[in-house]
Structures are given as structure tokens and as C-alpha cells.
Symmetry: C2
Subunit: 561 residues, 2 copies
């Protein structure tokens, strides 16, 4: 194990302006979360690294971004776009074109650190409002200029990569306001480029800002919360960490307004309808391939943090944790908000990383909660105070029936502090050649173990790799599995091969290709095999309708082209 004296030198400085690192670094440029000593010790042990391996940082990406690809658009086309949005809202420089072409996949980060730049747009455009978007889409449709939407750029599947050049349309620069709270209907009308924290803060402060009687919450808290937008949640079908109670992004959309080459429309404001297939739902998950979300009305919820009931448990086995979770989700006493179970590898690594003292390990083992068998479960309940008490009590009873030991609220409180900051560590690890990435899938209860074992077996068939799995979004019919893998690797091609092998393995073992990460261009190639050609043909028919000239986010998004 490392000790304080040989702690690696982590970068503690915001990336230089214009550098690759300023694009790859997650989140706030001035915020850092370094791996703990326990983390470093684990890496050294798993990857047979010496202290020397942690002495020199590599491929830090501190060079200035140089693209050297003149925009392919004609100058009159660029002028026309500038006429629409104003000169200040058009950028042609190398840095902007690369920045607004990049998401947050490990693969992109790795490539950018190596100075490898994939497809970029010719021009970056920041529309000021819906009218700008309408004019841009109409003009680009006429000129057959591709348009790729960029909001916060947290995509983990090349969702904002302008595969065919054209325009990067940055929706978060101006279109980021909360327009209205409708307290009777408990809805909020919001522009799609609004970031999570600004949205949530405004809802929490609704009495002060909007004069409402009550405070509200958005109910949607993905790990990317601080660097993702409301519109991004909707068009990529995201899920927040509390989705078991509040629902996925799909569920909390009330109505939407889209600008498409086939026209602009707003879906109707009804709590339910039986007027044929629901256009409001058809648009969700279209990932910019049908058109551009310009306004969305979201369901909101009463903000009652004082009622939160936290819990955590240790289960003796993964089977017990899964069975108890299923029982909880099907028992009809209400639902927890956050609810997570970690598999044995994640549990044990987690305990080590968060500094469990040795005597606790001994104590747990003596009580029958053995390493590489025991599983951690944690979560909370939100809502009315008596409801949260009831649900938390029921969960405790079921946990106890399945042999779990209550750990109180400690683990959950600890997790809450780091719920959005884990991605910050990625930069530090990559500085020393260690890659961390995730893939996730939805699965029914009856296929959970096959998927878990199958994908783990594939990952573990490779030496010197860590694989941790949790389930974090629960339904009466099943859950998701979130596979985290960590490996010492520096070659983008080798990494790509491993990553795509895991996607293959998820599909072969009956998982969905994506539970809440969307499809983008990365998962696109699997779509037809996954959905079948008949269902893929439905998506393509919709695409042809909305976007007959294929200008909206073209080049593999959703596997459409």
C-alpha cells in the first residue's frame, strides 16, 4: 500500500485555456477529486504497478488544440448563419469546433489526450431562442447542411459528434431558462439547455422566484446532474439516481416542443390521452435525429428533504440482495427513491476504498458476511413523512427476512457526498495510464443472473481488470446492471476493442443495449440486431418523415444511417 510519503502527484491546476485537457477534464475546471491512498494501493496491487508507475504523468493533453481543417461550408453559408444568430454567436476557431464535437466517453478522452481528433463541425452556432432554431433548421434543410445538437456534452456514446460536419448547434449557451412554474398542475416549463443545478435550485426557490406556495424538486439526479441539461435528459432517455420513485426522464416529461425540418409543433398538455399513438412519447429518445427540442414542460414534485429516510444494509450474498430487492419492488407498499445494490466485487472494493477499518471486516466475516460474497445495499425514501417512515420500515423488514444486517444511514450519507463527483477521478487515473469506464443494461428479474455472470465472465477473461457491478434503477419487472471496469491501458484501439466486446457480451446475454445512457453513434451499430429489422424500420420511417434530407444529427446516431 502507498503511504502519504509516496502519494502520486495529482494535477491540482485548471487546464490551460485552449488545451485538449480543458476539453477532457470532467466538470468544474477548478474542482478536483483525487483518488484516495486506498485507491492507489488497489491500482498498484491489481495492475502490478510500482511506485515508479505513479511518478510520471503521461499524455496529459496540455497541448493547445490544433485542428488544421478549414470549414467545408461556403462563406456565404456561414454569413447566412451569422445573419440569423448574430456574429457573436458563431464560432469557427479550432478550439470551439473540437470542444463542441466532444462528449465524455473514455475513448474520446483517451484519443484527445493523444491529440487524435475525430469528426468536428464546420461551424459552431449558439441560437438565442426558438426562432433562431427554426431559421437555422429551415436554412440548413434547404442547403443540406448537417446539424448536430450540443447541450452540456456529457454524452457517453458520441451523441454530439458531428459525424458529417456542418453545424454544431449549442443549445445551452442561451436557451437555459426556467420560464414558468404551474403550481396547480405541478409542472415547469423550461428551456432545454438549462443545467441540472440551476433548474433544481430554481424549483427549490420557487416561492422566492415565482411566488409559489410550495418548494419543488425536479426528481431527476443522474450522476452527470451538474454537467447535463434538462433537454439532454429527455432526448437521450436518461434516468436519475432516484428514478425508482420519481421515474425515468421518459416518465417525468409532460409535453414538448420540437423544431424539425417537417415543421414545429408542441405536444398537448394532458395528464393522459387516448387519441392514438402518443407523439409526446414518440419524440422522447430521438437524440436529435428527428428535430430539436426547444421547450419542455416537466412534471415537478414537492420538495420535502426533511422527510428523507435513509437506509443501508449488508446482505450475505448477491442472491439474497437481488431476491430481497425484487420483493421490495413487488410488494406494493410504495417505493424507495434511491435504491442500489452492489455486487460482491463492488462491495468489497467499496469497503476498502472508503476506508473500512480491519476490525469491521473481521466482525462482518464472523457474522457470516464474507468477502466476495456480501453485498451492500443503500438508498433512501422520499415523499410524505409518514410514507417515508412506512416504506423505510418495510424495506428493513424485508432486508431482515433475507438475512441482511442494517448499517443505518451512514453508508448512504457518505455516498451522497460523492454522488456527483466520482467522474472527477477519471482524469487523475488517466494521467497514470489507468482507464475507468462503464456500460449498463436493463434486464428483467429472470435474466439478471445470466447477464451479470455472462458479462462479468467476459470482462474477467482478461487479466488485470477490475469489474464492479451495481443495480441502481428498480422496477417491479426488473432492474438495470451497471458494469464499471478499470484497466491499465493506453492504446485507444485496444480500449475500443475491449469496450465493444462488452457491448457484444451484454447483447449476447440478453441485456438491453442501454438502460439510461442512450444510443448515440457508439451503440448505433448494434441497434438493428437488437431491435430487429422491423422495429428499426419504424425508427427509419419516422426519421424519413421528420428529416427527409437527413440533416438532423446524421452519421450513425441511433443506428439510423
Amino acid at each position: 500500500m502507498t503511504t502519504k510519503k509516496n502519494r502520486p502527484e495529482w494535477v491540482e491546476k485548471a487546464p490551460g485555456p485552449g488545451t485538449y485537457r480543458s476539453i477532457t477534464k470532467y466538470g468544474d475546471p477548478n474542482h478536483f477529486k483525487h483518488p484516495s491512498d486506498a485507491w492507489v494501493g488497489m491500482m498498484q496491487q491489481e495492475f502490478h504497478m510500482s511506485e515508479t508507475d505513479f511518478s510520471v504523468r503521461q499524455h496529459e493533453g496540455n497541448e493547445k488544440v490544433v485542428l488544421n481543417r478549414p470549414p467545408a461550408l461556403k462563406s456565404e453559408q456561414i454569413e447566412k448563419l451569422a445573419d440569423i444568430v448574430g456574429k457573436a454567436n458563431v464560432a469557427l476557431d479550432d478550439y470551439s469546433r473540437v470542444k463542441y464535437a466532444s462528449g465524455k466517453t473514455t475513448e474520446e478522452m483517451l484519443e484527445l489526450r493523444h491529440g487524435i481528433i475525430r469528426e468536428v463541425a464546420d461551424v459552431v452556432v449558439h441560437p438565442r431562442d426558438k426562432q433562431d432554431v427554426q431559421k437555422i433548421v429551415a436554412y440548413c434543410d434547404q442547403e443540406k447542411i448537417p446539424v448536430t445538437v450540443f447541450a452540456a456534452g456529457s454524452s457517453v456514446n458520441f451523441g454530439c459528434r458531428p459525424a458529417k460536419g456542418g453545424v454544431s448547434l449549442v443549445i445551452s449557451t442561451h436557451m437555459n431558462k426556467l420560464l414558468e412554474i404551474n403550481e396547480l398542475n405541478q409542472t415547469a416549463r423550461v428551456q432545454p439547455g438549462m443545467y441540472g443545478p440551476a433548474y433544481e435550485d430554481a424549483l427549490n426557490q420557487a416561492p422566492e422566484i415565482f411566488g409559489s406556495k410550495l418548494r419543488y424538486t425536479c426528481g431527476h439526479f443522474p450522476q452527470s446532474f451538474e454537467y447535463s441539461t434538462v433537454g439532454g435528459w429527455v432526448v437521450t432517455l436518461g434516468s436519475g439516481q432516484a428514478s425508482t420513485y420519481y421515474g425515468d426522464a421518459y416518465d417525468i416529461v409532460f409535453s414538448q416542443e420540437y423544431v424539425t425540418p417537417a415543421g414545429t409543433f408542441k405536444t398537448l398538455d394532458y395528464p393522459a390521452t387516448a387519441t392514438g399513438p402518443k407523439i409526446n412519447d414518440i419524440m422522447k429518445g430521438s437524440e436529435g435525429t428527428f428535430g430539436i427540442l426547444v421547450e419542455v414542460t416537466m412534471k415537478i414534485f414537492r420538495f420535502m428533504p426533511e422527510n428523507r429516510a435513509r437506509f443501508s444494509f449488508m446482505y450475505p450474498t448477491w442472491e439474497a440482495a437481488v431476491n430481497a430487492s425484487r420483493e421490495i419492488m413487488q410488494s406494493e407498499f410504495g417505493k424507495p427513491a434511491i435504491y442500489r445494490i452492489s455486487d460482491p466485487e463492488e462491495t468489497d472494493r467499496g469497503l476498502k476504498l472508503y476506508g473500512m477499518p480491519g476490525f469491521v471486516d473481521t466482525f462482518l466475516s464472523m457474522r457470516g458476511f464474507k468477502p466476495m460474497q456480501r453485498c451492500l445495499c443503500m438508498g433512501n425514501v422520499e415523499g410524505d413523512r409518514d410514507y417515508t417512515k412506512l416504506v423505510a420500515g418495510k424495506i428493513k423488514n424485508i432486508a431482515s427476512r433475507y438475512g441482511a444486517m442494517s448499517l443505518g444511514s451512514y453508508a448512504m450519507r457518505k455516498w451522497e457526498h460523492t454522488r456527483y463527483t466520482e467522474p472527477y477521478m477519471r482524469e487523475d487515473l488517466e494521467d497514470y495510464g489507468i482507464l475507468i469506464d462503464t456500460l449498463e443494461a436493463a434486464v428483467t428479474w429472470d435474466n439478471l443472473h445470466r447477464l451479470h455472470q455472462g458479462v462479468r465472465a467476459f470482462i474477467k477473461s482478461r487479466p488485470d481488470i477490475m469489474c464492479m457491478t451495481h443495480a441502481s434503477h428498480f422496477y417491479p419487472q426488473g432492474t438495470n446492471l451497471y458494469f464499471i471496469f478499470i484497466i491499465k491501458m493506453d492504446d485507444p484501439d485496444e480500449f475500443r476493442k475491449l469496450h465493444r466486446g462488452i457491448v457484444d457480451s451484454i447483447m449476447k446475454n440478453g441485456g438491453s443495449l442501454s438502460h439510461h445512457h442512450g444510443v448515440g453513434r457508439m451503440i448505433g451499430p448494434w441497434m438493428e440486431k437488437h431491435l430487429g429489422k422491423e422495429q428499426m424500420a419504424v425508427l427509419r420511417a419516422l426519421k424519413r418523415h421528420f428529416d427527409p434530407r437527413n440533416i438532423m444529427n446524421p452519421g450513425g446516431q441511433l443506428g439510423l444511417d
Copy 2:
């Protein structure tokens, strides 16, 4: 008021075989539910009817159905269809062609009683299985023969009227089995033609039939429960009386298999996915215009009737009932299953019809619950025992805060006995020239009063009409309004004009065209104006994809053609 001695002579005999009445009569041919003496008294008073008006039944529809329209299909086409399904599963007789062309609209009933027959199919075909359906669709697509699906025929919007002739495809004759219960996933795989009671009974008896550990319920109980099918619920977007807790049909579908001219496919079995727009949802509500639902996997729920908590309340005003209901739906302590509020006219007529003694009226009035102001609320809570207690208690607290008086569980128990049988009265009333019909709409909380007042004002602008309204499906964002109107009228054209005027009024006052009755051919003409041409174009694009030759339920369904 009428007394026992002059009670009208209600029909107490099953309709003769082959008669119009055997088609128009609701439900079990041998079951009757006659209007009470109070009902008759109310009709006499409202419609200025004398006892003589209740002495002669009119247009009873006891004549044999005569069509006199030879099938337009070629004999080799009919032979080919018979080759596919077997001769016994093909019918060309007048009666079958009319029966399987008819739904249960008041308008159709009135017309059939007058011997007016609208469009019928040339041939009635009863497929035995999915393979039959595939062959029929392929053949009809090749020959451009229209196909209109018929399941239980409870449509209230000409949804099963073969507007372009061709084939009536009767899905309920053979394709009506519960195929499998998956207890881990809590799902049931079922054929679409299975009727509500058979489905629910099988789920309740799952331990005996399928060897499951627990008993289950389908959670979907529309008023038409006894004469509607699982597939019908799904393709028309029905809602059950307990939808506030279990969800609408839309919500309880897990996956579906469809046969369309563009191919056969089954949507994937996942509790959630982020793999682009959800084909599983796109198909719901397609009302047979995209293809034919041949198998559906439904979410099921634990059957725990012993935990049910019933409640009923009297609110001093409609505003108080609405405000309390909104508070209940937004307070996040869980949801009631059945939950209904009646407006003042429905409340007062209901109290009279169910025989409230005069002293109760006096008592209520003295307590401030005045006639034509007070509003009845009733419902129940289902689920875990402690959950039902908690939710029922919370509802009681809120009701009390809004000035309501608890009436215990009596009204609810009384309602349960008649929950499926109200439509039986329609036949008796029509025998004496009285028509009863309903229209319904979804609405957000902020538009509820405008819709209620606007539609009521339109209906009441006509003399001698009763109009009762309730809300019976609740969401945090709003509810539905269900308008019941009763009038003495015999002319189909006059009735049509009134009925369509109410649809107009719903639309003008901002209600959805349908909350759970679907669209069919009746509401079709409003669809484009309601959704807007851009959204209607999306539905048409899907239609062209699935059914390029327009053979699936053509002729106005969903307003597509």
C-alpha cells in the same frame, strides 16, 4: 313519482336469435338491470312524460337482421380465406356481417333499432392463431382487401366498423388464452382476444392453474370489463376504474407482438430502455390501423383484496372536492386505486336514484351540504395492508381539511355492486325513447372548471336534458371529466348532431378529445384540428410505413384517411 302498480313493462327475455336487438343489447343476453322506480320517476319529471309514455315500447329491434348486400369479394378470395382458417371460421351470412360490424355507441344502437345498417364487411373471419393472422394480412395486403379487427365489440366510437368492407377479423373467438405467468417478472403473456373476467379469474387462480406462489390481479377494470378484451384495452388506450393506482392500459403493457403488412415483430422484454423512441409505446393506441396485436405481455400485480380500504365523503362544493383531490394526488403519500368525485348534479341524482331517505337529505342540508352544491367522493386503496391504511387515513385527513363529511364505506360498497352493470339499463330506457350516452376528456387541473362549466353550459343550453359529470382517473397533473347526458330523443340524426356538438364543446373548452375511449371513426374528424397538422402527419407517416396499401382498419379510424 311512479309507484309499483304502474312500473313500466321492462323486457325480461333474451333477444330472439338473429334479431337487431340481439346485437344492440349490452352484455349477457339473459341478464337485465332495470331502472329503479326512482329512475322512472326522474325521467317522467325531467322529460314531462306521462305514464302513457311508459306504456308502449318502441323500435325494440325484434326484427331479424336483413342486409341484402351480397359480399363484394370474389368467390376465389373468400375461398382463399377459408383455406387459411378453415371453412368453419368463415361466415358470410347477413347476421354475422352486421354483428361483427357493430360496437356499442348509442348512435349505432338507435340506428339498428330503426333497421338502419351502416357499413359492414363482406366476410367475417375467425383466425385460430398468429399464423392465421399473418397469412390473412399477407393475402389481404396482396389483394388490397380491407381488414377491420373485432374483439369484444364494446367500442363507443365505431372502432370496429368496416368502413371499406373487406374482412371483419374476429380475434376473440379463438385467440383468447392466458399463455404464461412469469412470477419472477410479474408479467402475464396473454392472447389479445381474452375477455376481462377470464383473464382476471386466471390471474386470481394462478397457484391452482400455473402453480405460482402468489395470486395476481390485472389491475385493469373498465366499466366494460366483462365485455372487453385485453387486446382491446391496449390498442384503444383504455383506463380501468382503478387506474389512479394501477395506471392506464398504456402503463401496464410490458411488451407486444404485432402482425402488420410491413412484417411481424415482438417488442423487447425490458423494464426500461434508452434505445431510442420506444416501439412498444408507438404501437399502443394504434387501433388496428398499423397492424394486429397477436400477443401481449402485461404487468400484473399481487392480488390482495383483503387489504382494500374503502372510503366515501360528502364535500360541501365541487371546488372543495376538486381542491382536495388535487391535494391528495400531489401529496406523495401513495395513491388510491379507485377514486371518483361527482359534480353536484350527479351527486344529487345519484342520491335520489340510490334511494336516499328524505331525512338524510335534510340532515345533509342542515350540515351545510346543500343540494346542487354538495359533491360525493368515493374510492378505495389497494396494495400492502399498512400502505392502504396509511393512504386511506391521509385521504380522510385531507377531506376533513376541505370540509368534507365521511360517509364510511357504504357508498363505495354499493357502487361496487353496480360498477359493471349500469350499461344494462340503456336497453330499457331506449325501449321508451330515452337515450343515455357519455363523452369524456382529460384535462389539467388549471383548466378543469372551464371545461366542466363550458361543456355543461353547452349541454344545458338544450331544454329537457340531464347532464351528470364525474372525474374518475386522477394524476398529479390533472384528471378526466366524464359527461353523462340523458335525453328523450328518437331521431338518429338529431342525436348525432347533439353528440357531435358536445365533442366540439369539449375541444373548444380545452379538453382532450378522449381520455380513455379511444378515437375510432367517430372522433377521427376532430383529430387533425386537435393534434395539429404536424402531429397528425407523424401518425400518417407511421401508417404509411406499416400499411402502405391502407388495408388495416381503413376509412377514418384515428382520422388517418
